[in-house]
Symmetry: C2
Subunit: 272 residues, 2 copies
């Protein structure tokens, strides 16, 4: 961690920064964003803040103002040019019990981390996870703080060569990767799981779908099963920090970065 801001103030003592009764800790009662700081700018900041606001609305949390959040981001980025910013908004600090007082002030937390190492040029190796995602349409899509399934999934392997785990839901649909969304070119169509019951609607995922539209790449959101992933002609995952990551290897199957993936990598790089 390079720096942190809680409710608009720089944190001096990171070991004693959060209220004991914060509902983020008590119940995972909040949402978060992970953003790329690049050349002093938060990449796709409006998309991230819009998703954060949408998540708060879904959970009935009174979202902090966009101005307050942007101030936090400016304060945390400081003079830093590059890095990763995590922004957490919880319902606030309240007493015991699931019911939240109506007058809670949400907690805003911004943390700056150092930049990550880039991937190898030829893509990443992934695996299937045994941990399944539960289906709950109410929580589907938003980036809430109830992430135990992802913690368990990501702790299934230790091999640093494997970058991501692919996740199925309890009904054996392929949903996403542990920290990314999944795209597969299946029968010539760029396909991504529809996330109607679980998964996170990534900021880059939405950009890719919009870019595909604008680039006349046929795309669809739908149900994907394991065998369709295996027979896909191209396969990649996306997230806000690493953009598009072609999948090179999954078990004994191998892929190369294909033409659709290459076009989208270039198109995404040109987005503002």
């Amino acid at each position: 961690m390079l720096a942190a801001v809680v409710n608009g103030s720089k944190v001096r003592d990171v070991q004693h920064a959060i209220a004991l009764e914060d509902r983020g800790l008590a119940y995972g009662d909040g949402v978060f964003e992970t953003m790329l700081l690049r050349q002093g700018q938060v990449r796709f900041v409006e998309d991230h803040l819009a998703r954060l606001e949408f998540g708060c609305k879904r959970l009935g949390i009174s979202a902090p103002s966009i101005d307050a959040l942007k101030n936090d981001l400016q304060l945390i980025a400081g003079a830093q040019n590059d890095g990763v910013i995590k922004l957490i908004v919880t319902r606030g600090a309240g007493g015991r019990g699931y019911r939240a007082s109506a007058d809670l002030a949400p907690t805003r937390i911004a943390i700056l981390y150092a930049s990550i190492e880039p991937d190898a040029e030829d893509g990443i190796e992934v695996r299937w996870c045994a941990t399944r995602l539960a289906r709950n349409a109410t929580l589907a899509g938003i980036k809430h703080l109830n992430r135990l399934e992802y913690v368990l999934a990501h702790n299934e392997w230790n091999d640093p060569k494997i970058a991501e785990g692919l996740l199925l839901d309890t009904e054996n649909e392929v949903i996403e990767a542990t920290t990314s969304n999944l795209f597969a070119v299946i029968d010539g169509v760029l396909t991504t799981p529809d996330l109607r019951f679980c998964g996170v609607r990534g900021v880059i995922r939405a950009r890719i779908l919009s870019l595909a539209d604008r680039s006349n790449i046929e795309s669809r959101e739908g149900v994907i099963h394991q065998d369709e992933v295996l027979r896909a002609s191209e396969l990649f995952v996306t997230n806000a920090i690493r953009g598009i990551r072609p999948i090179r290897k999954l078990d004994r199957y191998q892929w190369r970065c294909g033409p659709t993936t290459k076009r989208l990598i270039d198109a995404l790089a040109a987005e503002r």
Copy 2:
């Protein structure tokens, strides 16, 4: 809140008590217990600590020693005779990312709250919740910190006359109440949902099943649907703070505290 202890030390500043990167806050990566302090003793303390340890094991968290937890409880109870103690154990404070370092020290949090107001003698009024519980066998039963469904459910109503909400899962099975387990006498058999896919295996729930065995009350854990709840001859919920609470009213249906419920209330009072 009357007092709090974090990792064995009394908390002086409750607004700045928890590490910024605690995984309990980041992901709901932990478990908790809510316990009754009565006449200076934590009621059913061994049951609670055993469930906490079981939950840690399920999540791959290295559980704190029972001695450390008992010291926390002693410190937090202090000279207090009665109250409610909440004990949280998280995987600890770590960096960014779902994968947990193997060397994390778990965070222990104990909070003391004042005693609650007793219920009316003739039982409680409950309602059905619209929020559904997702099915995930891996997380079922343990009292983990991913509690958004319960927060949303408990925020569905504001009427203080309604004490609890009854929860269905996404497949329309009746699972439990927002802060309690549910028991129904159906066709003469004491029945409680089996919680194989969701719900919390309550300490009092286990006691009731064991008491039923010892008292020759026929009981079963199984699937319960809404219509079976409505035609139950007796209906009650249980939790560690309030013990057995007979249900008096659910929508337009009414019940009286029946003979099986009465026997179990007496039997539970005699438990140690």
